[in-house]
Symmetry: C2
Subunit: 381 residues, 2 copies
């Protein structure tokens, strides 16, 4: 039996919640948990340099198997020396399996036991992705943490459909595990599905835990259900997962959902939210969202967030950032992207401190209050 | 009589050419000459941060009065504490007068002795720019070096027209000088015009030198004439300018033209060329231009320029930069923009060393040879 590529070290559990402080040791450095992972879909975190990501405290980023498979192709990335070298990033990389993109981006998919037939969102070319193919691509990319190929059905799909899907996802996870070429260098996670059904989440977790993955992802959330619904599912799902392995809640990145996930025992998160809204001129701040393009900031010479000490907030005003957006200058995207990523990474740093101090619930209350002041509908933040 | 805002210190003249080594002391730091100035049209050098510009050795940048007047407006910039503070740049800034943009960008212009009536290129609004108005805007922006409001007629305009234009530009220069509010903080340059006519360049230089500006610009070049024609005009124009003042050749940024300008006694240059072609995926290299988007670089894991030690060339391959462009990732623009600006700033550094060593002609020969190898028509580089 080979040593797994990563190790999870549990440092401390909070007294009155499920929150846990830990660290994950990867072949490319160690990062503390709970952690938010910036998303670099196409081998780059949009508008950011690797040095900037390091400066803001990102110890691991996510990249997308589906996108890199289509362009530039996993063979090219492998020839370049792997994804780390290709994109000049020497810290941790997690790759998804492509499953989510197949179900969210691609056209005309046809799911069989063998895998999924679908068409490229770039040029309509017919494509086929299977558990084995996804693993082969992820092996070529050389990420530190890989995802099993899963099906991510809509949250409100029928019970019968989700049950069949969960069973197939378990079989796919096992096939992926067998296809995995170097478990000593890349850690493969299983993905727990099951929608909003406790018995199906149990079934999924039982199947996957029996395969002894070095970590477990929670999939099928943040796909349209309410925050309350997500929390309800987490309440009964994280306790199904082993304490000595990391838990990764996929696709979640709003500040409230991060805190609520941590309170329920989640260690890792990722989401395009901070960079996507940044490119639209929307910033996360300690007082809620701020749309810096708005006319009212034209002569506002204060920083985006007066409680933030990021590069953007230390050096630039709302008036300047607004000017850059109005003038279509890409430096504007850099400044808001930096700020939003820093905001979430710094939030997680504060969350880790709160766990250490056994006061994450008080931290949450204070954060939500501050943050709600200027936000009409905090659930959509 | 107040002290001028800037000082030019001539360090050395080359033995067999007109090239000169010097430095310019501004209220925001000192930079060596000959120098290339990156262009930050809208209060930002496209895709670059101030820290990156400093790291590549830029001691002064150019910003555009016309653009900042229209958006965000000079009053707002002044309220922000001036252009340096607004854009977080504590080194030198040179502003043009808006004259060139009025003649190249704006619609339906009508030139009178008083100034120019025209329409905004943004929204068609009627606008009026005069020597006094241009200076008022530049005073509000707070640049270290300001330009007089001039007319820049097409190179092949009739002799009679250019003569009248030169005479008007001289009168406008004098009006600008009178309107200038703080010559002890901002140095106003006169702009020598006169097209391709030696007598008109003489007339222009005589008029302007009699007004004793702290520096002189050479305008009306790089506007469609050949490189040979530009060099011919420089041959008889720079000797008309005082030795103890800096000389700035406006709008010139191709490597060959920079070297040829320096050989004829020019100290300062600016051009959007390096950043503009960078955004199109074209890189300046020691072996000529390289279009990194080309398919032949898909699996080329060498740097953009094997003789370059810039951030981009030290850390990224042609294959990666090409991938970023194919995938429409803005980090690609960052990498090529950084490289091209570094290339020109580093070229000027080598040029300064060559002047010190009295071998700029040999340097030019070697550079042109290397650079011509992969370039079909070096005149268009």
């Amino acid at each position: 039996m080979t040593e797994p590529a990563i190790k999870y070290r549990l440092i401390k559990k909070e007294k009155h919640t499920g929150a846990r402080l830990g660290e994950i040791i990867t072949p490319h450095g160690t990062f503390p948990t709970p952690m938010f992972m910036p998303v670099g879909t196409q081998a780059t975190v949009k508008a950011m340099s690797p040095e900037e990501l390091k400066a803001m405290g990102a110890g691991i980023i996510l990249s997308n198997t589906y996108h890199l498979w289509l362009r530039p192709g996993e063979d090219l990335v492998k020839e370049a020396g792997g994804l780390h070298k290709f994109m000049n990033w020497d810290q941790g990389i997690l790759t998804d399996s492509g499953g989510f993109q197949v179900f969210s981006l691609a056209d005309m998919r046809n799911i069989t036991e063998e895998g999924v037939h679908f068409k490229s969102h770039l040029n309509g070319a017919p494509l086929f992705l299977s558990p084995e193919k996804a693993i082969q691509i992820e092996n070529a990319l050389g990420s530190d943490i890989m995802m099993s190929f899963d099906e991510c059905p809509p949250f409100y799909e029928s019970y019968d459909y989700i049950k069949k899907s969960v069973e197939r996802t378990s079989r796919w996870a096992e096939r992926g595990l067998k296809a995995h070429q170097n478990p000593e260098k890349q850690a493969l996670f299983g993905i727990v599905q099951g929608g909003g059904h406790e018995d199906l989440r149990k079934l999924s977790a039982r199947d996957l835990v029996s395969l002894d993955f070095p970590g477990y992802s929670i999939g099928g959330l943040s796909v349209g259900e309410s925050k309350a619904e997500m929390n309800r599912v987490l309440d009964f799902t994280t306790p199904l997962l082993p304490e000595d392995k990391p838990r990764y809640l996929m696709g979640v990145g709003s500040p409230d959902a991060l805190i609520d996930g941590v309170l329920r025992g989640v260690d890792m998160f990722d989401c395009v939210l901070p960079t996507r809204i940044a490119r639209n001129g929307t910033c996360m701040t300690s007082h809620g969202r701020l749309v810096v393009k708005n006319a009212k900031y034209a002569r506002d010479f204060s920083p985006i967030d007066d409680n933030c000490d990021c590069y953007t907030c230390r050096n630039y005003t709302r008036a300047y950032v607004r000017h850059l957006f109005k003038a279509d200058e890409t430096f504007g995207l850099r400044l808001t992207s930096y700020h939003n990523l820093y905001f979430l990474l710094n939030l997680m740093k504060q969350v880790r401190q709160a766990i250490m101090d056994d006061n994450l619930l008080e931290f949450k209350e204070h954060f939500f209050e501050e943050y709600g002041l200027n936000v009409k509908n905090p659930k959509n933040f």
